[in-house]
Amino acid sequence: METDPRLALDLAGIKMRNPLIAASGCYGFGFDYLPWVDPRDWGAIALKGMTLKPRAGNPPPRLAETPSGLLNAIGLQNPGIDYFLEAIRPRLGELGCPVIANIAGESVEEYRELAAILDRVAEVSAVEINISCPNVRRGGISFGQDPATVEKLVGAVRRVYRGPLIVKLSLEAGDIAAVARAAESGGADILSLINTLKGMVIDVHSRRPLLGNITGGLSGPAIRPVAVRAVWEVAGAVSLPLIGMGGIASAEDALQFILAGAAAVAVGTANFVHPHVAREICRGLQRYLDEQGMGHYSELIGAARG
C-alpha cells in the first residue's frame, strides 16, 4: 500500500506509517505472515509477550471458539529474552516497520530487568508492559489490579527504559481509570487497552473445562463494546495517547475507538480471519477521510466526546 500522509503519526516517539498495530500475541515475532502479508501494511507490530526465561506455555487445548469471540490460554509460550536477542533481533530489520516488544514478568524486578535489556536494543521502537495477562497464574495478573502496585511497577521500568513506554491495561481491575492514572503517574508514555477478558467454556460431554488451563482470555468482536467503553473512560481520565483494541475487524470498528479517544488501534484476533485486515482498514480509513473531506485522521481522535 502507498503511504498516505493523512494516516501517518508519531506516537510518543514511535514513527508510524498509519495508526494500525498488530496486537501482541497475534502476530508472533512478525515473521509468520511474511510470505503473504507485507509487514509495512502495519504502522507497527507488537511482538508476542516475552519473559526472562523461556516458557513452555499451557497444555492443550489452548483455544475455544465462543459466540463472536475467541478464548485463548497460550500461557505466554515464548523462547525467552536471550533467544530473542540472539536469533530474532538480527532479523527484525527485515520487517521494515517499527516493532514493539511486549514483556511480562512475575515480579517488578523481572520487568525491570527485561526493560533494561531492551533499552539497549535499537531494533525495538517501544516497550509494552503487559501487567494483565490472564493466562499466567502467578504472573502479570496481580500487578494489573492495584493502582499503587501499577505505579510502582511502571516507575521501576521507567527508570531503566528510555524509549516510548506503553502500559497495557485490562478490565480485571474494578476501576480501569484509576489504574490508568497510576500508570500515567508512574511515567508511561502511552496506554494500550484492553487485554482479553477472563472467561471459560465447559465441555458438557466430558463435564470438564474445555481449556487445558481451565480459564482463558476472551478476544474478538464479542468484547468490542466493552473495549470501546474502556477507551472512552480512560480517555477521560488521563492525557496520554491511547492504543485502543478489542474486536477490531473493520475500518468502522477502528473509527469507533478513535472517535472514543484512541490515537492508534491494535488488531489481534481479526488477523486470523482476514490476514489482509491492516491494508483493508487503512483503505477504509482513507475512504472515510475522503467522504468527510478531512485532512488527517487525527482530527477524529476523541471527536465523539463532544
Binding site: 500500500m1 500475541g25 497475534c26 502476530y27 508472533g28 509468520d32 505472515y33 510470505p35 503473504w36 502479508v37 507485507d38 509495512r40 508476542k48 513452555a56 506455555g57 497444555p59 492443550p60 487445548p61 489452548r62 483455544l63 475455544a64 471458539e65 465462543t66 459466540p67 463472536s68 469471540g69 475467541l70 485463548n72 497460550i74 509460550q77 474478538g220 468482536p221 464479542a222 475487524a249 484476533t269 488477523n271 486470523f272 480471519v273 482476514h274 490476514p275 489482509h276
Partner: protein, 267 residues
C-alpha cells in the same frame, strides 16, 4: 513494494456432492492452490458473520495442477462444517493457504503404506494418488464405521487403486478396525518402507505402537483447533519430544504431519 505470495483466495465452487453419509466433496477452481502438496491444508471461512468466528482447517484432498482445481472432502461434524455443506456450486468460498508441512518422502522408491481412519483418508488419498501417478508402490488401508460412511469403492478405483478396507460392522471388507489390518500386514515378511497415517486418536495410538514394534518409520497427520493457521498465535500447539524434552509444536506450521518418533502418543 515487493510482490507478496497469495494467501487469501476466493475460489469458485464448481461442484459439490455427498460421496458418503455426511461427507461432502467440493471441487474448486483454485489455480494458485493446485500446486499444494499432500498433507497441506487450507483454512476455510464457513460463513460471513462473526459467529462462527474462526476459519476451519481442511486438508487438500486432491489437486489437479494442470486443471487448476482442488478438491476438499468435508465431514459434517459441527456448526462450521454444516454451514459449509449448505453452500452450492456457483458460490465462492473464502480460503487461505496452502498451509502446513505435508507427508515427506512421497517420491521415494520403497513401498509406502497409508493407514486412514474415517475422514482421515482425505489427505492420504491425495498422497496415494500422487504415488499412483508416479508409478510408485503403495498400499492403502482404510477403516470406517460402516460402508455407508465411506466413499464407494469406485471412488478409489477411478484413481487406480483399491484400499484394503475394514468396517466396524463388517459391511465392507474385514469386520473390525483398520489397525487390525495393519497388524496383519506388519506381521508379513516384506515390510513397507514407511507408514503414513491419519485418523482418530485411538487409531493413531495403536498405529504408533504397531509401527514402533515393527521398526517401520511413521508419519502422522495430527489435528488441533486452530486460530491463525500460520504459526502466529501458538494456539494449536501439541507436545512433541525434542531431544528427550517435551516441547510444544504448532500443528499448523510445524505439522500437521509429524514424525512418529516425536509425537507424544502411546509414550
Amino acid at each position: 513494494m515487493e510482490r507478496k505470495a497469495e494467501i487469501a483466495h476466493r475460489c469458485l465452487l464448481l461442484d459439490k456432492s455427498e460421496i458418503a453419509r455426511g461427507w461432502h466433496l467440493f471441487e474448486l477452481e483454485a489455480p494458485l492452490l493446485a500446486c499444494a502438496e499432500p498433507g497441506q491444508f487450507v483454512h476455510l471461512r464457513t460463513g460471513c458473520s462473526s459467529d462462527p468466528l474462526l476459519r476451519r482447517p481442511i486438508s487438500i484432498h486432491y489437486a489437479d495442477a494442470a486443471a487448476g482445481r482442488i478438491r476438499l472432502l468435508v465431514q459434517v461434524s459441527g456448526r462450521g462444517t454444516a454451514l459449509l455443506a449448505r453452500s452450492s456450486p456457483g458460490e465462492e468460498l473464502d480460503l487461505l493457504g496452502p498451509f502446513g508441512r505435508g507427508f515427506p518422502f512421497l517420491d521415494e522408491a520403497a513401498p509406502a503404506l497409508f493407514v486412514a481412519g474415517g475422514i482421515g483418508m482425505a489427505p492420504l488419498f491425495f498422497a496415494a494418488a500422487q504415488r499412483q501417478r508416479a508409478g510408485l508402490p503403495f498400499e492403502f488401508i482404510l477403516g470406517g464405521r460402516s460402508s455407508a460412511f465411506l466413499p464407494p469403492e469406485e471412488y478409489f478405483l477411478d484413481h487406480g487403486f483399491a484400499p484394503l478396507t475394514a468396517t466396524e460392522d463388517g459391511s465392507r471388507g474385514l469386520r473390525g478396525l483398520a489397525t487390525a489390518l495393519l497388524e496383519k500386514r506388519l506381521a508379513e515378511a516384506n515390510r513397507p518402507g514407511r507408514i503414513h497415517a491419519c485418523g482418530p486418536m485411538p487409531m493413531l495410538t495403536r498405529v504408533v505402537e504397531l509401527a514402533r514394534a515393527a521398526g517401520v518409520p511413521l508419519h502422522l497427520s495430527l489435528e488441533s483447533r486452530m486460530a491463525c493457521g500460520v504459526g502466529a498465535c501458538l494456539g494449536c500447539a501439541v507436545p512433541v519430544k525434542v531431544q528427550g524434552n517435551i516441547e510444544y509444536r504448532r500443528v499448523c506450521r510445524d505439522g500437521p504431519v509429524f514424525d512418529g518418533e516425536a509425537v507424544c502418543i502411546g509414550n
